[in-house]
């Protein structure tokens, strides 16, 4: 619709001056990001004694813990995305459709993790886990908690991450739901015989694709880079492993950072193309 406004024709004459500024801003921004990145890359591949070599990267891929910590982080990210979306989307829909009065409460609740520093949060989790043992020990809830524990895949981290990403997920989904007339679409689908799960999968999700994608991006980026909670709870996902490694070998740690940057970027690209392709279809 915007294409019909005729604005684009006008912009051709007006952009002359701003164009120069655009270039300047672009160059400055690019320099800001690329210079540190470039020097980092140079640092990892050049040593005065050995000259240019990619040995740091080679060492990385064979280093102890690289694959393990990376796969742990990716697993955590996938689990977190699944849990947080399954939790937040139906809840937000239910509030919108059946209890609009609770929307404010939900917004405050979902935004709360932003104002609680992770360090406080993890201290709270630690205390709860310690004291909870006695309180919860006789309950079946505790037995369930114990049963799902797995040292190779810490469920407690997934739960903690779900709380941490809730504000971002809530914001993305809320923005997405705002762009459509949820009530009318749901009622139209119900009227045509669709069950609630069918409505969710066939009507809401397809129209919420970009919001779901951005919620997933944010979760993925946050989980891959999260250090505080994982480290203090004694687990070693990717971010924690980087810090551990960097303590001993400087060149290696920078190489890892660059590699992880590249990796996350590729992942986000993959996610966005998956979502984008389906939408264009």
């Amino acid at each position: 619709m915007a294409a019909l406004t005729g604005l684009e024709r006008v912009s051709g004459t007006v952009t002359r001056r701003p164009k120069a500024w655009r270039g300047v801003v672009f160059a400055l921004a690019a320099a800001y990001f690329l210079v540190p990145l470039g020097t980092s890359v140079w640092y990892t591949i050049y040593t005065p004694t050995a000259g240019v070599s990619l040995s740091a990267y080679g060492e990385l891929l064979t280093a102890d813990g690289f694959v393990r910590s990376l796969s742990l982080s990716l697993g955590l990210a996938v689990a977190t995305i699944a849990v947080v979306l399954l939790l937040a989307l139906p809840a937000m829909l239910a509030v919108r459709l059946f209890a609009p009065g609770l929307r404010v409460v939900m917004e405050v609740l979902c935004t709360l993790p932003l104002v609680v520093p992770p360090i406080t949060f993890v201290a709270g989790i630690g205390t709860s886990l310690r004291n909870g043992t006695e309180v919860l020990a006789p309950t079946p809830f505790w037995a369930t908690l114990i049963a799902v524990q797995d040292p190779a895949f810490p469920v407690v981290l997934v739960l903690a991450y779900v709380v941490l990403v809730l504000p971002f997920v809530y914001r993305s989904l809320d923005a997405g739901l705002r762009t459509m007339d949820v009530r009318t679409l749901v009622e139209a689908a119900r009227n045509l015989g669709a069950s609630w799960p069918y409505v969710l999968v066939r009507v809401i999700v397809p129209n919420l694709r970009s919001a779901l994608a951005s919620a997933s991006f944010l979760t993925l980026a946050l989980v891959l880079g999260e250090y505080t909670v994982a480290s203090l709870l004694g687990y070693e996902p990717f971010a924690v492993w980087i810090v551990t490694v960097s303590g001993s070998k400087g060149q290696l740690s920078v190489a890892v950072s660059i590699l992880s940057l590249l990796l996350i970027w590729l992942l986000l690209l993959a996610v966005s193309t998956v979502f984008g392709r389906k939408k264009g279809k």
Partner: protein, 357 residues
């Protein structure tokens, strides 16, 4: 494939607002009934009770004699067209129409063919591959209509489907809806606040006020013989003129007219006269004077000062040229039976409805 719809003592309150206050109405199989009323009169709530989106606090909705009050919305046999555009934005017109068939797991080829037929039925055979954002408002509502009809429901529910469209499209689409309804013989409940729309396409018009039925009847009956002053005011415009009843006749503005319908005990009554039943003839020494004239296209509405009050009169546009403000005129009422009501005014003054400009 058609069914009767019955509203039985329907009550629904939202907090303190009572939307439905004991609505009783029966729609015969194949009938087109318009629910007409001002906003907040409960007409949409009544419709939503049939669709299953609203649960009445008490009372029941019966389709074909069966109580469907507790049946979930997705198990009801009623297609609905909504006021706001309700097409699924991610699906093209064909897939929108075929949505219900897809829910019922109808094979792809069958539902494509059926969607094609329906799009042809609503006059959009070449728009199957367009997405909702590529369709105009009127086209979207046509697709929505086709979608509602795809499952061959026994009841069609129309919730002000035309109110978002511009005037020309509104008129042509409503005629098309009526044509389709007659062809298919489907029981239809049509909610609108536009009296002209209701009068022009419905078999019967049900006027609602504060969640209750004021009057239900054929359009001509509701217009010519409003059962209550509210209906008289809401449907069209009505002059209230002071009159004196004697026997089955009433004296009003110096004329004696036969009385139609019941007569109140007090012989001093209001005589209800439509503006188009007031004839105006210019005469230099006439007792009345034109106060104002407003052009309404085919007709002109005159505001006339008569003895002790004002009267509205509609005259054809070509006659209005000689009836500018200030003209002396004589006023005659069309010789036909008139409705009388208990006296509410002391001077003859028109009661002006929303459309009286």
């Amino acid at each position: 494939m058609t069914a009767s719809v019955e509203f039985r003592g329907l009550r629904r309150a939202f907090g303190r607002t009572v939307a439905l206050d004991g609505l009783d109405l029966t729609v015969a199989p194949g009938e087109f009934v318009a629910l007409l009323g001002p906003s907040g009169c409960g007409k949409t709530t009544a419709l939503r009770c049939v669709a299953g989106f609203e649960r009445p606090d008490s009372g029941a909705v019966l389709v074909d004699g069966k109580d469907v009050t507790d049946v979930p919305a997705n198990k009801r046999d009623a297609g609905m067209v909504f006021q706001s555009y309700s097409l699924f934005p991610n699906l093209n017109a064909r897939d929108n129409v075929a949505f219900g068939l897809r829910v019922r797991k109808v094979p792809v080829a069958t539902r494509r063919a059926r969607a094609g037929e329906l799009l042809e039925l609503v006059g959009l055979p070449t728009h199957a591959d367009r997405y909702p954002h590529q369709l105009s408002g009127g086209q979207q509502q046509r697709v929505a209509l086709a979608r509602a009809l795809a499952l061959e429901p026994r009841v069609l529910l129309l919730d002000e489907p035309l109110s978002a469209l511009d005037a020309k499209v509104r008129v042509s689409l409503r005629e098309e809806i009526r044509r389709l309804q007659l062809d298919l013989g489907i029981t239809t409940v049509f909610v609108t606040h536009d009296q002209e729309e209701a009068l022009s396409i419905a078999d019967r018009v049900a006027v609602l006020r504060d969640g209750r039925l004021e009057q239900v009847g054929a359009p001509a009956e509701v217009y010519d013989r409003p059962a209550t002053p509210f209906v008289a005011e809401f449907v069209g415009t009505m002059n209230h003129l002071a009159g004196q009843v004697s026997g089955d006749q009433v004296t009003v503005l110096g004329q004696i007219l036969p009385v139609d319908g019941p007569v109140p005990e007090d012989p001093s009554v209001d005589v209800l006269v439509r503006p188009e039943a007031v004839k105006v003839v210019p005469s230099p020494d006439g007792p009345a004077e034109v106060v104002a004239a407003s052009f309404r296209g085919a007709s002109v509405r005159l505001r006339l000062a008569v003895e002790g009050g004002e009267v509205l009169a509609d005259v054809p546009g070509h006659e209005a040229a000689q009836l500018g403000p200030g003209t002396r005129v004589t006023v005659r009422l069309v010789e036909r039976p008139v409705l009388v009501a208990e006296r509410t005014v002391t001077v003859p003054a028109p009661v002006v409805a929303a459309d009286a400009v």
